[in-house]
Symmetry: C2
Subunit: 350 residues, 2 copies
């Protein structure tokens, strides 16, 4: 959400660090996917055949002879996903790779390798090299070694990261579809930290040097160096009915999961594990994005048991309901209200 | 090479449609690859392990249980790889996909699926949709259905295409390394057509409407809608010692293949199959780029036999020599001279 000014009508002006956005990216993607040729059916023994096409966190192919190939791509564009006055070069490379690998975590999979396509002004060769180096470092840490890529001259810095991986052996893919009314809704970790960290970075840059305490430093780290939840995805894939990663805020991503599953959902505000505090902490969790925690729907006992066995922290934040009930937020003393379908949207947000 | 002005010293000024370029992209990539962490070794039965890392046309992994996974990515940036005053939206989408799939052809492989990461100004949603649609159409034609992607707001249009594929069953990968002194040098098809087609598009745009004859239309088609040589790569992989696709002109790409193989090479100018005629046709073949034909080194009889069996047109253009002999061009009446290491280079060429 860096460097972008919200254009929706329901946002407050000025210093709001979580500008509301419409969902132009979803709309445009849907229009394009509608006109794509249908993927081929099974192509015989020798050819990987598509079992999950566009619309989930990653595409999946059944590999001839066994196993599942996962493919995903993510972009980080200067002035949209990062701001060089706020994000160090090293962070630009590391977070772009983490965001793409998070799509593999969101399927319950394991990364195998990554490709980076980098755009940078020719006059900034040194900056491009440092970003690429940081991307390679983070890719190796995450088990997705950088195996190729290219550098192209362009006006602004942009990174496009593609990752290939494999599905968790013996477990189904963690898809966005499959959530059922009665399922529990869970998230890993704490939400809102990345957006609050971005707000702290802005404050520090605009207001000159500011001392940050250790809690604030932790929020900044969530923004600059996010961690994809690979262990959690692999541990929960077998127990969950549906799941995805939280890249664009709980509100928008929950709308997406519910739409893919054909269900409604109800979130209890008081249960959402917050990286920050109070109303601002909840705003950041719902609409801030870039947390890369996982959103999971499934039978409560099975999800809690799988998380316990693997030592993964999950928090039950609500429940899956019938489609007709919509997506709701329940607050103490205020009852249930519709949870707006808004969050981090690079396409419409500028 | 679109829209780019060469900056090398050995180019002539003005209307030269094939500006010489230094090889800044190679240099920068090498610097980055030098600092990448070493890829892991074999990771056990469950994990694809890397058998060919950065530096070839695609990376390759041995898939657990059998088969080879190929991964590659390519970029098409406005003002560098295409020019909207010359390239229709449909061509922008189609050629970006073809260029990436050509890297799979260059390994002797078969594509399985593609991802497109698209950057476009939010005000140009319709143009972005048409480009993405054309990319999806071409991807499906080439057996690499578009299985995912994203759209990001940016200043200029850019496409980043990643393709996954499989190695040819029963044949070794067609690598850049492996050419041996005494091998024949071969190319598929005719060279220089894409660069000559670009020059014709420029002339038509700058000079107002110009009628093109059918031969000229064929050159324009080579620029706007290139065809990766998937059949040729698969047919020749078993017979060749080394190979790659010709994306940046015969001269620069031959230097790359020779460097990867640790050999020299000698090309007979009169044998190079030209899409155009005369000195200009040869210039375009050597330095023009974007032809996406294949360059093959191997035992002459085996290569010719494999091509004949598959009905693939190959032309012997020279021979592989010892490393100390360098990369040479032999011309009738002029003897052998060094073939400059220059061609299409987006990084240094602007």
């Amino acid at each position: 959400m860096t460097g972008a000014a919200g254009n929706s009508e329901d946002r407050s002006a000025g210093a709001d660090p979580f500008p509301a956005r419409s969902t132009g990216e979803d709309r445009l993607l849907r229009r394009i996917l509608d006109v794509l040729p249908a993927p081929p059916g099974e192509g015989g023994e020798e050819v990987p055949h598509l079992i999950l096409g566009p619309g989930d966190d990653a595409a999946a192919f059944a590999w001839p002879g066994g196993g599942t190939l996962l493919l995903t791509a993510d972009a980080a564009e200067e002035g949209v996903h990062f701001d060089r006055s706020l994000h160090p070069l090293r962070a630009i490379g590391r977070r772009a790779v983490a965001a793409a690998v998070s799509d593999i975590a969101a399927m319950g999979g394991r990364p195998a390798g990554a490709l980076v396509s980098l755009v940078a002004p020719p006059s900034e060769e040194l900056a491009a090299a440092r970003i690429a180096e940081a991307a390679g470092e983070r890719a190796a840490e995450l088990g997705a070694p950088l195996v190729g890529g290219n550098i192209t001259a362009g006006e602004r810095i942009g990174l496009h990261v593609a990752v290939a991986g494999t599905g968790a052996p013996g477990a189904p893919l963690l898809r966005r579809s499959g959530a059922k009314p009665g399922d529990g809704l869970f998230v890993t970790g704490e939400l809102g930290g990345a957006a609050l960290g971005l707000a702290l970075l802005r404050r520090r840059t605009e207001g000159g040097t500011t001392c940050l305490d250790s809690a604030e430093e932790a929020l900044v780290a969530r923004q600059l160096d996010p961690a994809p939840r690979l262990e959690a995805g692999a541990a929960l894939a077998g127990a969950a009915h549906a799941g995805m990663d939280l890249s664009d805020g709980l509100a928008l991503d929950l709308h997406r999961l519910a739409a893919a599953s054909g269900v409604g959902a109800s979130v209890e505000a008081a249960r959402v594990p917050l990286a920050g505090t109070g109303a601002r902490g909840l705003e950041a969790a719902l609409f801030g994005g870039e947390d890369y925690e996982l959103l999971i729907a499934g039978p409560p006992q099975a999800v809690i048991a799988a998380a316990g066995t693997a030592g993964i922290r999950v928090t039950r934040i609500g429940r899956v309901t019938a489609a007709g009930e919509g997506i709701r937020l329940e607050r103490a003393g205020r009852g249930a209200e519709p949870l707006p379908r808004r969050g981090w949207d690079s396409w419409a947000g500028r």
